[in-house]
Amino acid sequence: MTEAITGTRGRATPLVPLSNFLTRYVLRLLGLALVDAFAVWLVSLLIRDAVWPLAAAVIAVTLLVNAVNLSDRLYPLRWMSPAFAIIILTVLYPIVFTVYTAFTNYSDGHLLTKVQSIRRIGQDRFLPEGGVTYRWAGFRSSDGEIALWLVGEGGQAYLARPGQPLEEVTADAAGVGPLDADGFPESLEGYTRLGLRDLLPILDSQLAPLEFGEPPQTIKIKSIREAAQLQQRYVYDETQDVILDQMTGALYTADDRQGFFVSETGATLNPGYQVTIGWSNFQRLLTSPALRGPFIQVFVWTIVFALFSVLTTFALGLFMALVFNDPHFPARKLVRTLLILPYAIPGVIGILIWRGMLNQHLGVITTNMVNLFGWAPGWFTDPFWSKVGVLLVNLWLGYPYMMLVCTGALQAISSDVYEAAEVDGASTWQRFWNITLPLLLVSVGPLLIASFTFNFNNFTVIYAYNEGLPPIPGTPTPAGYTDILISYTFRLAFESGRGAQYAYAAAITIVIFLIVASITLFQYRFLGRWEEVSESV
């Protein structure tokens, strides 16, 4: 860093080679212009879609990058700016957005903004009672005006032009060419007949908005073959914030507390829209029947699962590390490499392999156990053994990490301490218990806490192993014996009510975060004591 600061000062020397000037100013400004142009384009895109929070985040990042690259005082930050940009966009923004979402009703049925919702509802059309449907053919006049030759159900023909009354026509009138197989004239004086290839490109952009004939009974294009006296079904009145159903006469008033247009009878219009709803999601979680049910049971199992996962992986990892720390172990590099393999296999695949091996009917472990002992545990159906099973699988997945960490930490312990202990006549066990473990825990302790926190929310293992099953009988909402807090509440948010409820899930996430955070804080207090222990060694 000091070098960098002197560098900025050194820049003031008058003899700067051209190439250096290029890199310092031209390329930097060029790069900055590129980033800015890009950001402006991105922000305009985001604002068009009304994605305000992300737009704000991108603006903040862009300003930061500009400031850092233009100001000499912020020069040391220049190398940090990519990291800052990534932190803001991939860490801070998701956190802020999750918190924000927890206070909205963002869920299935409320994905759109109010404007989008009104636009979508306004698309619906209906054919009023007594409304007539025609078959049509398109014509274009020499001045570009579109006209339709309509044939009604009774066979009578009309010429329809936008905004003008229908004109009844007959096939034998002057200027009307011979009729084709569908009953439309092949030519019409003053017009050219539009074929399918002419019609399709303008169908949605030019033909669909046109209203033929006189109001109120105008005719609109219904499909490539049919036109009818269609009317817009739902009309939005901005001044009163209501939607009128023109077919039934019902009035739907916007209810911005629940994000729906609601009629007097309580009927709602699809789709609803997004609104902020304050603490409702948290309230709902606290009053949820799920909390009256097996919540305590699930919570205790969550802690047991996290604790045992850490303890078993640490114990096995440490044991392996100690064994392979001995230079006399034969082929230790090869064996150690093989032992690290589970770490290199993607977790989900590892779990699937285990699921196969433990399979009750075909699994290699189960069938061998049955052959040897005449009995095998119900790895997926028995409440106790499924818990054992998921801990075993997690042990297999987790010990290589602990082994790596411990191997490193063991090598960091000074051999002087051991020599002194040996002189004092300490046994191997005493050396491990009084020297190795305390010193190891000082460096590995925070990792153990991190591992606990990770396993507390280890959704992947629980879901991939057995989806939290086997089921607990008689619960108010579905719950399984291996469910941990996150998998149990996941179900509340995504497998209940009316589909996926993202906002509720966000609220649950925040509550679980608070639980984990307080446990972690408590653990750090506890770890503080360990450090005192290590100081006295």
């Binding site: 070098e3 080679p17 990519p82 073959r225 579905p478 209940s496 009316r498």
Partner: protein, 441 residues
């Protein structure tokens, strides 16, 4: 958030990093930076610049160029159907001056991505989907009503009805899907006609083979495959009214459902039904000749044919009220509510897709009973015809969003009964209560 935004974000991050790389590496020295450094500086930014506009050009299908001879429509389809739409669809569409840009994605992804890409203006004009997505898609305002016009009569009525949600048609069906009763004809010449016969058959087969072979098995945790048993005893999930399924009438603890669950309980108690069977085990047992009959769908037809087992496909056995009625799933084409060319998309559906050649090609690519009557009636494959027959009285899978509250509770009840941890009555009374609670949630 749309793909474009993700792409842009990552490009932004790359650009920021490049900018950092542009900062002089060793400012203290007055020498020119090493040549590699300049290379990085001159090459990489231009790469970003040249890449970016092409990305924008390919990803902006919203405004079809009216001057171009071809108008573009974006179609989202899964891997089995996208090649057909791409070749066959474009062959026909080309005559009309329309080009179909087929974007291939996983079947389930279509549903998830639509919610994100549709409102952002990045979505398709036409998409392939299943009828039971409608509850979610309509509640989210993602699909537009469609109009089959005079083609309506050419489709299977049950399939068209499945795509009607809250009184409006939202899809053009192309195939139906249901499970049927597969029996190994080397073990049983005549399939059991009732569930009681299934139990009797299990007793004889197990006695004859010393427990090696049994009559029938079912997946422990798959309510979908157990539904025909429930219907055969008069059970139901949601009460069916004239306006569709009624979420306030949960029927898993109805008399009929309990009778069906009791049958499963008796089968399990007598040792005829083993717990822990999943889809793979069920197929392995059937193709290995250890079980005479299973219920499964056309998706297993290939593996069963390859195994060389002699099989027949039959309707489900009957319970106290009649033969089992499986769930009917219908696949079809829908139009995105965010498409700016809805009339054109509708035209493509009615004039191009709803033709015998196209529907036949769809059938050939992935044989399952067609929803298009001319193709359905001409089905030469006896197995597919048997599936159509077994699904003749099928009940369309409820599309209402409340269905998401059902699966877990139902699965658990089924599992508790088959593993004999709870009685049929207790398990299914709990399940129905759980579903009612979740729907109120």
């Amino acid at each position: 958030m749309s793909k474009k935004i993700y792409l842009s974000l990552s490009l932004l991050v790359i650009a920021v990093m490049l900018l950092a790389a542009c900062a002089p590496a060793a400012p203290a020295t007055t020498e020119a930076p090493p040549p590699e450094e300049t290379e990085v500086m001159t090459e990489e930014p231009t790469e970003v610049m040249t890449e970016e506009p092409t990305e924008v050009a390919t990803e902006a299908p919203t405004e079809p160029p009216t001057e171009e001879p071809m108008i573009e429509l974006v179609v989202w389809a899964d891997e089995q159907r996208s090649p057909i739409i791409d070749q066959m669809g474009n062959e026909f569409a080309g005559e009309f001056g329309v080009h179909l840009t087929v974007q291939q994605m996983g079947f389930g992804d279509i549903r998830d991505q639509l919610a994100v890409a549709g409102p952002a203006g990045e979505g398709p004009d036409i998409l392939i989907g299943a009828h039971d997505w409608l509850g979610q898609l309509v509640a989210n305002g993602l699909v537009a009503p469609i109009d089959l016009g005079d083609k309506t009569d050419q489709f299977l009525e049950a399939a068209v009805n499945a795509f009607i949600y809250e009184g409006q048609l939202y899809g053009m069906p192309y195939a139906t899907e249901n499970i049927a009763f597969f029996c190994n004809t080397d073990i049983v010449q005549e399939p059991p006609a009732t569930w009681d016969e299934v139990m009797a058959l299990a007793e004889t087969l197990e006695a004859e083979s010393g427990g090696e072979v049994t009559a029938w098995t079912i997946q422990e945790r798959d309510p979908y495959h157990s539904f025909p048993i429930f219907t055969s005893y008069g059970g139901y999930v949601f009460g069916l009214t004239e306006s569709g399924y009624d979420p306030s009438d949960v029927g898993l603890d109805s008399e009929g459902s309990l009778a069906a669950a009791t049958f499963l309980q008796e089968m399990a108690a007598a040792g005829h039904l083993e717990p822990g069977v999943d889809h793979d085990i069920m197929n392995a047992l059937f193709t290995g000749g250890q079980v005479a009959c299973i219920g499964t769908g056309p998706w297993d037809l290939d593996s069963i044919r390859e195994s060389g087992v002699n099989y027949g496909i039959f309707p489900f056995p009957a319970g106290s009220v009649g033969p089992g009625r499986p769930f009917l799933g219908v696949q079809g084409f829908m139009i995105s509510a965010f498409s700016e060319d809805q009339l054109l998309a509708q035209t493509v559906l009615n004039e191009i897709f709803a033709t015998e050649e196209f529907m036949q090609a769809m059938y050939d690519a992935d044989p399952r009973p067609s929803a298009f009557l001319p193709v359905r009636e001409a089905t030469a494959d006896p197995d597919i015809a048997a599936f159509a027959e077994a699904g003749h009285d099928g009940l369309s899978m409820p599309a209402i969003p409340e269905m998401s509250s059902v699966w877990e509770a139902w699965t658990n009840a089924l599992s508790l009964v088959i593993t004999q941890q709870q009685s049929a009555e207790e398990a299914f009374a709990t399940a129905a209560e759980q579903i009612r609670t979740l729907i109120e949630e």
